[in-house]
């Protein structure tokens, strides 16, 4: 018998699920939960995408001159608005 698990517990463990750092029993419970819960499946897919994005350095290659333009914009904004 696979024991139920709540959405809240799934959210708490979803990162460990992706990293395969949970017990086989908990893994089976979560897998069963995903079958019937679209919300948690969306959380799982979203987390998996974030992990993939963070792990893929290419995703963070910024266009040439981006940093300079960003600093200039921030300077302009800060000198216009003043310190908050």
């Amino acid at each position: 018998m696979v024991i139920e698990i709540s959405c809240e517990e799934v959210w708490r463990e979803v990162s460990n699920y992706l990293d395969d750092e949970i017990t086989p029993e908990l893994r089976a419970r979560m897998r069963e939960h995903f079958k019937g819960c679209k919300h948690c499946t969306a959380v799982l897919d979203g987390t998996r995408n974030v992990v993939r994005l963070v792990g893929d350095a290419k995703a963070f290659v910024l266009p040439a001159g981006f940093s300079d333009r960003l600093y200039q914009k921030l300077d302009r904004k800060l000198s216009k608005d003043g310190p908050s």
Binding site: M1, V2, I3, E4, I5, S6, C7, E8, E9, R12, E13, N16, T23, E25, L26, R29, H33, K35, G36, C37
Partner: protein
Amino acid sequence: MKGEIGNPMNDVYEINVAKARLREAYNAGNVDLLLTAFADEFADMSSGKPSFFGADAKSVFRMRMTNLFEQHQATLIVTIIAIRVFASAAFDYGWHSLTLTPRKGGESTTTRKRYFETWQKNSTGEWKINLYIDNVDVAPMLPDTDILIQ
């Protein structure tokens, strides 16, 4: 917090186990097993049905489920959103998706309900449902734009 979810001594885990047993009872059409999930006296406020309280609730529930399982093969999918425990009392809420297939043939019907139930830990340390209420689920939607702007 890690490790607590699979801890058999954990009350949340025990309620998850009781809920799994309830699901298995539905899927096996086992009324006796199903009734073990409930306190001897409970409040049954199932949607579309009259409310029953105390000892009557269990008798009526037994009769209703016996008839249901005689006529249908049931498949229950439980999605628990959250479980909250306060000493020897607890509640949980979520969805029950029940598919009924007529034993004499015919099309299956699936009804998804959102439920809320309260639990009481009895003198032997077992968690039992002492109030059950549900209503038919409605498809999710985002709030209206003017509400989002606020």
